[in-house]
Amino acid sequence: MKCSKCGGLAVINMRQHRLRLCTSHFTEWFATMVQRTIEKYEMFSPADKVLVAVSGGKDSLALWDVLLRTGYEAEGMYIGLGIDEGIGYSDKSLAMCRQFVTEHHPGAVLHVVDLGEEYGQDIPYLAHTRQRGRGKPCSVCGLVKRHIMNRVARDGGFAAIATGHNLDDEVAVLMQNTLHWQAGYLARQAPVLLERDGLARKVKPFVRIYEREAAAYALVRGIDYIYDECPFARGSTTNFYKELLNQLELQSPGAKQQFYLQFLQARDKGEIRFAGEGAVELRPCRRCSQPTTAGDLCAFCRLWES
């Protein structure tokens, strides 16, 4: 199989783009796709300082790498969640992030917030002892990560928080929300969530990148990442939907991309509308001053009280 650009040996075949690329043209194509996405959705400008949420996984490390290589001022942020489950998951994840900096971008700034050290409890404990976490640690984990990311972004003067959510992540969520007609979630699912009332801007520069391409980029760049799934995410519905969507993609190349991009287009044109669109009023939390829709304390501060 030959590279569509130079005739050299292709390392990847992207059927949805009718493109087969060698290592060099693939890394070039990848960076161009990410740059186009950043510009198309006006995520941030070259003058902005960006906080990249890194987990030690392929997507976030690939994102940090491509942003640094294309000249952005991108700093990483790792949140130590204290997940061990017999495989030292959190320790391994942090080690991967540190290794990435040492091997690929010495001098890059990595902010580390350890939940246990800073707040006294970790995710497994919170999930076990709090009503919100019973049977669904991912719910507590999401809440904690959103809170800490926002705090670090605000305190550090970052223009945006960039996450490694790829097209497969977005399509899986879109499918779940469509099957359950979650109008509020469908209204809010977007490549950019603008900053407002103390909430930092959130951007997803990989929304047009297939998960397969993000993994391929990490592999050809020699980025060592954590292959293990988060022990709490094993058997998750998101992964189930991703596998289903890949069955569809196998039969109909480009199906995932079409589903997601046409959803965004239809919503932007006003062809589809959802109840719950429009801004919900936010107030500062009495304790931490981060924005909340609740009256007094935000969900994060309530978590430590319950």
């Binding site: 199989m1 040996l9 292709a10 390392v11 990847i12 075949n13 087969r20 290592t23 996984g57 392929k58 997507d59 991912c138 497969d168 992540d169 899986a172 998960e211 397969r212 993000a214 993994a215 391929a216 592999l219 050809v220 292959y227 799934e229 988060c230 709490f232 995410a233 998750s236 998101t238 992964n239 991703k242 596998e243 890949n246 069955q247 993609e249 196998l250």
Partner: protein, 63 residues
């Protein structure tokens, strides 16, 4: 023979088939899998050769 590694499993197959065939024979979806030989990414049409060690990597992650 060709050694194939996927997660914590290892098995052997005859040389000469394509990587895509190796993936399908393992009952895996080529859309969800990438293949490495000697740590290098290889495309799905690559023919396996005697003595190859092929590592299959799942690209699906997240929760």
């Amino acid at each position: 023979m060709v050694k194939v590694i996927y997660r914590d499993k290892t098995w052997e197959i005859k040389a000469g088939s394509t990587v895509r065939h190796v993936i399908e024979q393992a009952d895996l979806n080529p859309e969800s899998i990438l293949a490495l030989r000697d740590g290098k990414l290889i495309n799905e049409a690559t023919l396996t050769e005697e003595g190859d060690v092929i590592k299959l990597v799942s690209v699906v992650s997240g929760g």
